[in-house]
């Protein structure tokens, strides 16, 4: 397709199939067209028709009519099998820019079972799924992350040829879904953090005695395991996390303002590098970006939150 036409087509598609968090394939969204085999089949029916006419054989004629009727019935069946299928956002798997992430798409079927549905998007081999009525089915689609930031989900082609393979019902689905691409870590000698007792290779691990025990709170997943009150757990009190009031001097703040003289992306990459470095050391650290401040903490969840913030910069929601 020539450029302008392609653009028009895209615009038309975008208008007709606007992105949404959840999409149910209604008849407005479903396109249907014979496949190559469908045309072959119609050709066979036509040949039989000609044969029936020529041999003046009404039975062969009936056979050709039967094939044609079956084709028409197949239109309905293909359509029925396809329409009513719902897709919605699942979770997403972030990754570093330049690498790849993954988006989870959840297919659900409220009205009927959908057989042999194929999902594909550019640069991704198709996946075939069956969605049983009343059930959900998750599909992971890989997504390459060319640059940092929010990588929007590409248009997904959903299609099904069930039951006869003579017709293909398809739709393009643009889910309002994105994958976060974290900055690519770039090593730097200078830790852009302040507040710590030493500027880098800080080991504020909660054992140094420089923190004041404040109390316990219920364990929530993502808390650093080092802070769990294991003694209490052993006594059967359940999982609690020790809460420390840390002296201000013990907290590390990774600050945007401390990475100076570098382009924006570079800055983020350095921050990313140090986030990973500090996380490896189990050191609690905070992050300060223009427009967002994340209080110091440690653990997987915190690391993800920091990385996500770096990915989202400069627009947080």
């Amino acid at each position: 397709m020539p450029g302008p036409l392609k653009r028009l087509y895209r615009r038309w598609l975008a208008r007709r199939l606007p992105p949404a968090r959840q999409i149910v394939l209604s008849q407005k969204r479903v396109f249907i067209f014979p496949t190559g085999y469908g045309f072959l089949y119609l050709l066979v029916a036509a040949l039989l028709f000609v044969g029936g006419i020529n041999y003046e054989n009404n039975l062969i004629l009936s056979l050709s009519f039967l094939l044609a009727s079956l084709f028409m019935v197949a239109i309905l069946h293909t359509f029925m099998n396809f329409s009513g299928l719902g897709l919605r956002n699942g979770t997403s798997e972030s990754g570093f820019s330049g690498g790849s992430g993954a988006l989870q798409v959840i297919l659900f079927a409220d009205q009927r079972t959908h057989h042999s549905v194929r999902l594909s998007w550019p640069g991704q081999s198709a996946q075939q799924v069956h969605v049983i009525k009343g059930e959900e089915c998750a599909v992971w689609l890989n997504l390459s992350l060319p640059h940092r930031g929010r990588i929007a989900a590409p248009r997904i082609r959903v299609e099904s040829r069930y039951p006869l393979g003579l017709l293909c019902a398809w739709s393009y689905v643009t889910l309002d879904h994105y994958c976060l691409a974290w900055p690519r870590p770039v090593a730097s000698d200078h830790c852009p953090a302040d507040g710590g007792e030493h500027q880098h290779s800080v080991a504020s691990s909660g054992q140094g005695g420089n923190e004041e025990f404040q109390g316990l709170r219920e364990y929530t997943p993502g808390d650093s395991l080092r802070k769990v009150d294991w003694k209490g757990y052993a006594r059967g009190r359940g999982l609690y996390t020790k809460v420390f009031a840390e002296p201000a001097g013990g907290r590390l703040w990774l600050r945007w303002s401390l990475v100076e003289g570098l382009p924006e992306e570079q800055r983020l990459s350095v921050l990313c590098y140090w986030t990973l470095a500090l996380d490896k050391e189990q050191a609690p650290y905070g992050l300060e970006l223009p427009g967002l401040t994340l209080a110091p903490d440690s653990g997987d969840v915190h690391r993800w939150r920091v990385l996500d913030a770096l990915a989202c910069y400069p627009e947080f929601d």
Partner: protein, 304 residues
């Protein structure tokens, strides 16, 4: 509903410039729900609670929660009476009609959950004997904003027990001026006149149940709930209990508005107070803004 208007006017005398929040608090009471007020200290939380108690002639107790508070301190304990040689229950402060639980997030989770369980079940079980709490029974809990140090954040499951969460916020300059010019607030509260008594309040609460909600309205409520579940900006959608609460609050709101049927506006009015504290954002950001945006995006009347 003259009585309600009067009550509002009365409370409005001491809690200046917060009509909306007052109405919400009132609606919460009418809907027999508990109220959570989240604000910095000194914003008039206590005054509000106190005023409500006065206006409705309710038994009123205020408990300041601290970290070394134990469940027994709020529920009560069985004590051995040497004279009768029997254990008797010494009721805790929870046995009242209106309990102001100040700074509830300072207490340990254990104490918190003891109170919240009592709120939910409207009864207290101590040493095997169960005692009902008085009727009506309201809890107005206040909470400092989460970021404050030394607090135990109420877990989501507990937050669900509060029908509404409101925050009063800073007064406007004019109101603040009035406030500064006015006398002692405590004194004023003491001067408030009772409008209805507790029994009347219970009756009003029953009236709330009779407010009509048509199928179309229920549909709208359901769509709102559905939207929170489908919206992946939230960790989880609203529970069915929250939905029932929303409807009850909307009915109460309609009653305050003097109608015997619910309008979509009623639902929208109570929506932030009912929904916000029950929802958690997945990736940070303002839950308030997200909840509000749902009101914008969910059609009130079904579309084709």
């Amino acid at each position: 509903m003259q009585a309600l208007d009067k009550a509002l006017a009365q409370v409005g005398r001491v809690v200046l410039g917060k009509e909306e929040q007052l109405k919400l608090a009132l609606a919460c009471m009418l809907a027999r729900g508990h109220l959570l007020i989240e604000d910095l200290p000194g914003m008039g939380k206590t005054t509000l609670a106190h005023a409500l108690a006065r206006v409705f002639q309710l038994d009123y107790r205020r408990v300041q929660f601290t970290s070394d508070m134990l469940p027994a301190d709020i529920l009560g304990v069985s004590v051995f009476d040497p004279e009768t040689r029997q254990f008797s229950l010494r009721e805790g402060p929870v046995f009242t009609q209106l309990l102001l639980a100040d700074e509830i997030n300072r207490a340990t989770p254990k104490t918190q959950s003891a109170l919240l369980e009592a709120m939910e079940e409207r009864q207290v079980t101590l040493d095997g004997s169960t005692r009902p709490l008085p009727e009506p029974f309201f809890v107005v809990a206040t909470q400092n904003p989460v970021d404050q140090a030394g607090t135990f954040v109420l877990p989501e499951s507990q937050l669900d027990r509060f029908l509404m969460r409101i925050s009063l916020g800073y007064p406007s300059p004019e109101v603040e001026l009035d406030l500064l010019a006015g006398g002692d607030l405590r004194e004023q509260v003491r001067e408030l006149k009772a409008v209805i008594n507790g029994e009347g309040l219970v009756k009003l609460g029953r009236m709330v149940e009779t407010i009509r909600a048509t199928r179309e309205l229920l549909d709208y409520v359901q769509r709102l709930l559905e939207a929170t579940r489908e919206d992946d900006r939230f960790v989880a959608g609203l529970s069915p209990r929250a939905g029932l609460g929303l409807l009850r609050a909307a009915r109460a709101w309609a009653l305050i508005g003097g109608r015997d049927y619910v309008l979509p506006e009623d639902v929208q009015a109570v929506w932030p107070a009912v929904a916000e504290h029950r929802l958690t954002a997945r990736q940070g950001g303002s839950v308030a803004a997200m909840t509000q945006s749902l009101l914008q995006s969910v059609p009130v009347v079904r579309r084709a």
